[in-house]
Symmetry: C3
Subunit: 357 residues, 3 copies
């Protein structure tokens, strides 16, 4: 796979300063790119490395053009332009259409002639694979599941019965879509399993990471809207609804019946309690616990970051005394005569505390 | 699958007010149920929706009977009655007995004639599948594992060698039961692997979620007692013992050699340190870290819930000054003459602090 | 498999006090070992159980020799000596060389004659399996992956295209090595996927737990150095580099582009933010969040351990008032006349606070 700089400039909408016929076969880092490779300068922190590059061409901002010793592609956002070039030069592998002889496909499944089904994949009764679908080795697609055009299950993915995937969805190995939600009711000290009768609807252009689990709904469906990106080892509980273009980083856990807005960013290992709502454009930083709804866009954080163990132990002891410390401050304030300006500050402080209660 | 209201009333122990011959084919939510569907009113918050329902029947409390425009089934606990009806109307799919031609079964495995083994499942030497066992597509059952009656592995489940599963156990896709525990000893700056020679014993009526891992014991067994329910992506370390009817929510991590009592509830993403004991009837809320044993029933919590990032940053700085703040309060108390009633309060407060140290 | 005490003593470098010809078939706990089993006394807490043991022999320290009623093997570190004996007596199962008839191996893969490929395993084009490699049932090895000598994939493991595994690597079921990293850039409110063109390099003697995910690099490789031990359900982000002999416990999440030193210990459910560096010999305790680099060896901790829910709720309210409490202490200090020694203490305290800011 090779493209000329002229082709690349046109494809990514950049302005070429150099040899249009120069052939590029791939992308690499600024410091290691060879003369048949393309690189980029995204951040002026790296400008000092520019003069030493041996890349075939560098994508950069107009400001950095002067210092570039090789061909240059000028772009408003060099990183986005680089990504587009990388996608052009390294396209997703195309699987040969057809059903591998060692796949196991129900005679009552409906498989497009342009779909690809790998060895040891199992496709259930009534399942539908649309045009260009790629089912990798070892995947299991349950009865009556529907897989939209050009969706790809990489390998060892499990799609449970009746799950619906949109178009251009990409699901990484070990992910499980549509297992039963964790629905239990207590009766006489035992757990009664609540049948999980809903499904999972995954819209177009969603990506789901390795070993992530998305549960089916109890009665209604679990819904992942278009363009949502989910990292590895994430748990999505039943009946949860995730708004379009939200991104969820690794090991986050979203409990059941949560509604997340559009364009949110949920950090790694964050934990959202059940039955809450998160507004559009909310950013939750890594490992934050979210017990209640968040109604306004913004950045939210929780937890206590690590420090050296001795300091932490000392402050942990104090944390357990916090309520007592607050009472002692109040007692001191009551018995300390305040005068003039100081008095005002103290009472303002008191009001602020009350307001936060 | 269709049942009359008369049949349903009898099966779930409810009192029918309406047409015994009315046919019901499934369950649905109060707002969307059709005339051939059953719904329930579990919570008086939803009573205002009752008058508009078009369901075939509503399971409800006696108090709500007056406002019900359709057939009603009166039950003491409408939710539990609903679950029983749902299980009656939506039974687990029954797999056809027999070994799929594309399964790989050791000639030295012992498979009941009523067991079902799906395509691309692999059953090892000496493994035993009892009556009514269902092994889904892509599951691997290791040598000498024993699977009890009517236990079901949904798909792509791995049961390692020698693991013993009881009856009516349900294991969701991607779960791994009996991988080696994380047993290491240090010798000259390298890790020496401790052979993991124990097994895993899973008792009857246990449910294990998607991509959950339960490790085998080092010398003795890891034990999951009857009726335990484990959600997705949970880690259970080696030699851990989980008491009957305990429920563990998604992404919780239970380290090795932990003993958990009966009827506990462990919240999502909670983390229990190794070698601790948790009493019966303990509730640990989501994302709590538990470094020490908990000897008494009750609700336990940890962590710092998320707030807006600016407030959090400010309080995080203060958290690191907590020990200093406590010393400054003490210093203020020493130099502030306390009088009368206030003095008593301050000293009581001091005692409380000491007691908590 | 049986060894005499004489053979065992020589193999583990212990001093035998007893019958050299006594046959041992396995290891067991001190309290349950039979006369053909070996046990150990690692900790003097258990010395009181020594007199009642019915083991064939006990590995112990010289000090405990007097109280031993059976054969004894004296060792400087009884636990390490026990582990070596256990490995001798319970060797890893040896898989028969050869490709199972139900495996699916690309004609363009290169498989050593001494490698073993189990049923329903799938080996891609250009993949290389060196001598003694064991690929368990249901594993998928992607195109052009290289698996070093005596490396074992237990079952249902996914190795993505181009991943390189060293020698004697052990990977437990459900692990996924080399899925795409979570690389996204935002363009007009949508996510643009950054092609993940790097690989994963896993060096010799690494162990990777069940359902763990190690992502491939974006441009460069993700690297796991020799002797690293990773527990279950761990997430390792793209471009991360983990130094030799580091151990990472269950459910830890290491974001992308993290550099971890040698001989570190990362506790269960710990979360490391992206683009940070951790020095050699750092210990991070369980569930700690690490947002910034750690430059010095030592023990680091974060989080708030669980207490009873009422105390926690009270202290959580106070935590949100911390900044206010700190201001009120400062106000009290300003309006409280300090005298003599007390004044000095207060001002020292103030300096300490400032230093910590």
């Amino acid at each position: 796979m090779s493209h000329t700089l002229g082709e690349i400039a046109e494809a990514i909408g950049a302005e070429l300063h150099g040899e249009p016929g120069h052939a590029i076969t791939g992308v690499a880092a600024l410091s290691s790119a060879r003369s048949d490779q393309l690189t980029f300068l995204g951040n002026s922190r790296w400008t000092r490395h520019l003069s030493a590059t041996r890349a075939g061409a560098v994508i950069l901002r107009h400001n950095d053009l002067g210092g570039c010793p090789v061909n240059a592609l000028v772009a408003g956002d060099p990183y986005v332009a680089y990504i587009k070039a990388a996608r052009l030069l390294h396209p997703e592998p195309v699987a040969a259409p057809g059903i591998d002889a060692r796949a196991v496909v129900s005679p009552r499944a409906r498989i497009s002639a342009t779909a690809s089904v790998g060895p040891c994949a199992v496709i259930g009764e009534g399942a539908v694979l649309e045009d260009g679908v790629v089912i990798g080795a070892g995947c299991v697609v349950g009865d009556n599941a529907r897989i939209g055009r050009h969706t790809r299950l990489v390998a060892n993915v499990t799609i449970c019965h009746g799950v619906v995937l949109g178009e251009r969805v990409l699901i990484h190995p070990g992910a499980v879509i549509g297992a039963d939600g964790f629905g239990l009711a207590r009766e006489h000290d035992r757990w009664l399993k609540i049948p999980q009768l809903g499904g999972v609807i995954v819209h177009d252009d969603v990506e789901i990471g390795a070993n992530t689990a998305v549960d089916r709904g109890a009665l209604e469906d679990t819904v992942i809207e278009e363009g949502v990106k989910i990292d590895n080892l994430v748990q999505i509980g039943h009946n949860t609804h995730i708004g379009a273009h939200t991104a969820i980083a690794g090991c986050a856990v979203i409990a059941g019946s949560v509604t997340i807005g559009r364009r949110c960013m949920i950090g790694g290992a964050a934990a959202l309690a059940g039955h809450i709502e998160i507004a559009d454009d909310v950013v939750i930083t890594g490992q934050s616990g979210v017990p209640n709804s968040i109604r306004e866009a913004g950045v939210y954080s929780g937890g206590i970051a690590a420090v050296d163990n001795r300091t932490w132990l000392r402050n942990m002891v104090r944390f357990r005394q916090l309520d007592d410390m607050a009472r002692r401050i109040r007692a001191l304030e009551e018995r300390t005569p305040a005068v003039g300006k100081r008095k005002k500050r103290a009472s303002r402080s008191g009001r602020r505390t009350d307001r936060r209660k």
